[in-house]
C-alpha cells in the first residue's frame, strides 16, 4: 500500500488486518436487531395488526444474540469489533466484557417480557402513535450503551435511548403525563449535557475518547496533567443524575408513575441501570484513582440515596410511587458497592443490578395487573385481590421478598455480597445502612401487599363485606401478563436458589472492570502498545 511519495508507513499497528468471522458480528447484533425491527415497525405503522408479534420476535432475537455474546465473552474474554478497520484511538470500537454483556443480556430478557406484555396491552392508537418503534429504538440505545467502547459513542447511545423514552413516557398525553414528561425530559437533558461537557474536557485533556486508550493514557503514564479530577466529578454528577442518586433523584418519582404500566416497568428495569453501568465503567475502569479519592463522598451519597428512597416509599399511597422510591433506594445500594470499590463489592453491584432489573420490572408489571383488577392505582383503593387472583398474590409476595433482600430470592445474594464486602473493608456503617434500608423496604412493600391483597376490600368497606367485586380480565391479557410476571418471578426465585452462575459471572465482570488489561488488549486487536 505504499504510495509514490516515498514515505512508507507501517500500518500493522493501526489497522485490523484479520478478516472478521461471522461470530464477530455478535458484538453489534444487539444494536442492529432492535434498529432493524424499529424501522420495520415504523414502516408498517399504519398496519398495526402484527406489531405485537413482530416485537416479540425482535426481542427474542435480541435475547438470543446477547446470550450468545455473553457465552462468548465468558469463554474467551473481552471481544472488540472496530468500525472501519482503524484500531483505537482512530476508529470507533464496540468493546464487550462480561459486565457489559451480562447487563445487556438481562435487559434483553426484560425487553422480551415487555414485548410479551405489550402484545396484550398496547392499543391500536398507541401502536399508531409509535409505541413499538420507540420501544425498539430504546432497546438499541440500551444495548449500545452497554456494549460500546467509546465515550462519545456512549453519549450518542444515551441520547438514542433518551429520546425514545421521551416518546414512550408522553404516549397518551394525559395532563399528569405531560407534567411528568416535562420534569423527566428537562432534567435528563441537563444530565446528558453535563456528560457531554465532561467528554469535551476529556478530549481536550487526553486527545482520545476510546475507553481502552483513555485507560492506557491515564494509568500507564503515571502523571497526567489537566483537570482530571474535574472531569471525574462531572461524570459522576451526570451519571448519578441519570441513575437518580440523591440529591438528583427528584425527576424519577415525579415521572415514573405517569405513563402506561409497561413503560414504567421498562424504565425502572433498564434506564437507571444504564446510568449505574456507565458509573461503573467510567469511575472504576477509567478514573480509578479519582474514585478512590471520592470514595467517602460516594458512600455518603449512597447512604442518603438508600434512606431517602425508602423513606419516600413509606410516605406514598400510590403503588407505582412506592415502587419509584424503591427504585431509588436500590440505586443507593448499588452506589454503596461502587463506593467500597473492592472486587467483591463490584461483583455485588453487578449481581444487585441484574436482580434489580428483573424485580423492579416485574413489580411494575404486577402493579399494572393490580390496577386492572381493582381499577385503582392506590394501594388502599384496591383490596381483596387475594381472592381475585391467588397466583398474583403469591408472585407479588415473592417479588416483595426479593426487593427487600430476603432469602430465598435473588435480592438476598446481592445484598449479602455487598454487606460482606462493606464489613471486609471496615465500613460497618455502610453495611448497617444497607440492612436498615432493607428493613424499611420490607415495611414499605409489605404494606402494599397487605392493603392490596390481604384486606377484604377497599378502604371504607368492612372486611368480608359483600358487593365488592374486582374487574374481570380479558383472556389475552391474563395469559400474557401471567406469562411475563410469572417468568420474571420464577427467575428471581431461581437466582435466589441457585446463584452460583450469576455470582461467578459477576466476579468475572468485576475483574474485567477493575483490571481491564484484557479489555484493552482486545480493543487494540492484540497489538498492545
Amino acid at each position: 500500500m505504499a504510495g509514490d511519495s516515498g514515505k512508507t508507513i507501517d500500518l500493522t499497528g493501526v489497522m485490523v488486518e484479520a478478516t472478521l468471522q461471522p461470530a464477530d458480528y455478535l458484538v453489534v447484533a444487539p444494536v442492529v436487531i432492535p434498529i432493524l425491527f424499529g424501522a420495520l415497525h415504523l414502516m408498517l405503522r399504519n398496519r398495526s395488526v402484527n406489531h405485537g408479534f413482530m416485537a416479540i420476535l425482535g426481542m427474542a432475537l435480541l435475547t438470543l444474540a446477547t446470550f450468545g455474546l455473553l457465552q462468548r465473552v465468558l469463554e474467551t474474554g473481552p471481544v472488540t469489533m472496530t468500525m472501519g478497520r482503524w484500531l483505537p484511538p482512530f476508529g470507533i470500537s464496540f468493546s464487550v466484557d462480561v459486565a457489559g454483556a451480562l447487563l445487556a443480556f438481562t435487559s434483553a430478557l426484560i425487553a422480551l417480557g415487555g414485548a410479551v406484555y405489550g402484545a396484550a396491552t398496547a392499543t391500536a392508537l398507541e401502536t399508531r402513535y409509535g409505541f413499538y418503534p420507540f420501544f425498539m429504538l430504546m432497546m438499541a440505545g440500551v444495548s449500545g450503551a452497554f456494549l460500546t467502547g467509546d465515550v462519545f459513542n456512549l453519549y450518542v447511545w444515551f441520547e438514542v435511548l433518551l429520546i425514545s423514552s421521551f416518546g414512550m413516557i408522553v404516549l397518551g398525553s394525559e395532563q399528569r403525563q405531560l407534567d411528568g414528561t416535562m420534569k423527566y425530559a428537562f432534567l435528563n437533558l441537563v444530565a446528558t449535557t453535563m456528560f457531554l461537557v465532561a467528554t469535551g474536557l476529556l478530549y481536550g485533556t487526553l486527545g482520545t475518547l476510546n475507553m481502552a486508550d483513555i485507560w492506557q493514557k491515564l494509568n500507564a503514564s503515571g502523571e497526567v496533567r489537566g483537570p482530571v479530577m474535574t472531569i471525574a466529578v462531572l461524570y459522576f454528577l451526570a451519571f448519578a443524575m441519570k441513575a437518580a442518586a440523591f440529591p438528583l433523584n427528584f425527576w424519577l418519582p415525579a415521572s415514573y408513575h405517569t405513563p402506561k404500566y409497561l413503560v414504567s416497568a421498562l424504565f425502572a428495569g433498564l434506564l437507571t441501570k444504564v446510568g449505574v453501568y456507565a458509573l461503573l465503567r467510567i469511575s472504576l475502569m477509567l478514573f480509578s484513582d479519582q474514585r478512590d479519592q471520592l470514595a467517602l463522598f460516594m458512600a455518603w451519597v449512597a447512604a442518603l440515596t438508600m434512606l431517602i428512597g425508602v423513606l419516600g416509599a413509606l410516605a406514598q399511597r400510590e403503588v407505582r410511587r412506592v415502587l419509584g422510591y424503591l427504585v431509588i433506594s436500590g440505586i443507593g445500594t448499588m452506589l454503596a458497592g461502587l463506593a467500597i470499590g473492592s472486587q467483591t463489592a463490584v461483583a455485588g453491584v453487578l449481581v444487585y443490578a441484574v436482580h434489580s432489573m428483573i424485580v423492579m420490572a416485574a413489580l411494575y408489571l404486577a402493579a399494572g395487573i393490580m390496577n386492572r383488577l381493582s381499577g385503582s392505582a392506590d394501594m388502599a383503593g384496591g383490596g381483596g385481590l387475594y381472592a381475585a387472583s391467588p397466583m398474583l398474590a403469591g408472585a407479588f409476595l415473592i417479588l416483595a421478598f426479593s426487593v427487600s433482600g430476603l432469602p430465598p430470592t435473588s435480592g438476598f445474594w446481592g445484598k449479602f455480597v455487598l454487606v460482606k464486602s462493606a464489613l471486609e473493608v471496615g465500613a460497618w456503617w455502610l453495611a448497617f445502612v444497607i440492612l436498615l434500608s432493607g428493613l424499611l423496604t420490607t415495611i414499605a412493600i409489605f404494606r402494599v401487599w397487605t392493603f392490596a391483597f390481604w384486606r377484604g376490600g377497599p378502604e371504607g368497606t368492612p372486611d368480608g363485606a359483600e358487593g365488592w367485586t374486582v374487574n374481570a380480565l380479558d383472556a389475552k391479557f391474563r395469559l400474557h401478563a401471567a406469562l411475563t410476571v410469572g417468568v420474571l418471578t420464577a427467575m428471581t426465585f431461581a437466582l435466589g436458589l441457585a446463584p452460583e452462575m450469576l455470582l461467578s459471572a459477576a466476579a468475572d465482570g468485576a475483574r474485567s472492570l477493575l483490571y481491564p488489561m484484557s479489555y484493552v488488549d482486545s480493543a487494540f486487536g492484540g497489538v498492545s502498545q
Partner: protein, 125 residues
C-alpha cells in the same frame, strides 16, 4: 484565541444556568438552547484552535504535507448539534402542548403528577 472562546463559553454557561433556574418553561427552553451551544463551543475549544488548512491529504501522499486543522471536534460537534437540535424541537413541542393542556407555563403550577397535598399513606389496617 482559546482564552477568548473559553470566556465566551463561560458567559454562555452563566446565561444558560440563569435561564434554567427560571420557573417559566419558555425561559428554561431558551436556557437549554444556549446550554447546548455552550457545550458545542466547549468541545470546539477543547480540540485546540489554530489557523491551519483543512485535513485533506493530496492523492500522492499518505500523510498530510503540512499541519492541518483537527477534524475530530468538528465531527463531534456536528453530532452534538443534530442531537441537541432534535431535543430542542421535542421540548419546544412538549412545552407548547403542555401550555395548551395544562393552561400554564409556570412550573410552580405544574403539580398534576405530584399534587400539592397528597393524601397521607394509610395508617391503620
Amino acid at each position: 484565541m482559546e482564552i477568548y472562546l473559553a470566556l465566551l463559553v463561560g458567559c454562555f454557561f452563566i446565561v444558560s444556568i440563569y435561564l434554567l433556574l427560571s420557573k417559566y418553561v419558555i425561559r428554561i427552553l431558551l436556557g437549554v438552547a444556549i446550554l447546548s451551544n455552550a457545550v458545542n463551543l466547549l468541545i470546539f475549544t477543547a480540540g485546540r484552535l489554530n489557523r491551519e488548512v483543512p485535513p485533506i491529504i493530496p492523492e500522492a501522499l499518505q500523510v498530510p504535507a503540512e499541519a492541518t486543522a483537527n477534524p475530530l471536534p468538528q465531527a463531534l460537534i456536528l453530532t452534538a448539534i443534530v442531537i441537541s437540535f432534535s431535543f430542542f424541537a421535542f421540548l419546544l413541542v412538549l412545552g407548547f402542548r403542555s401550555f395548551q393542556d395544562l393552561n400554564t407555563d409556570d412550573t410552580d403550577n405544574m403539580r398534576f403528577a405530584e399534587p400539592v397535598d397528597p393524601p397521607p399513606p394509610p395508617e391503620g389496617y
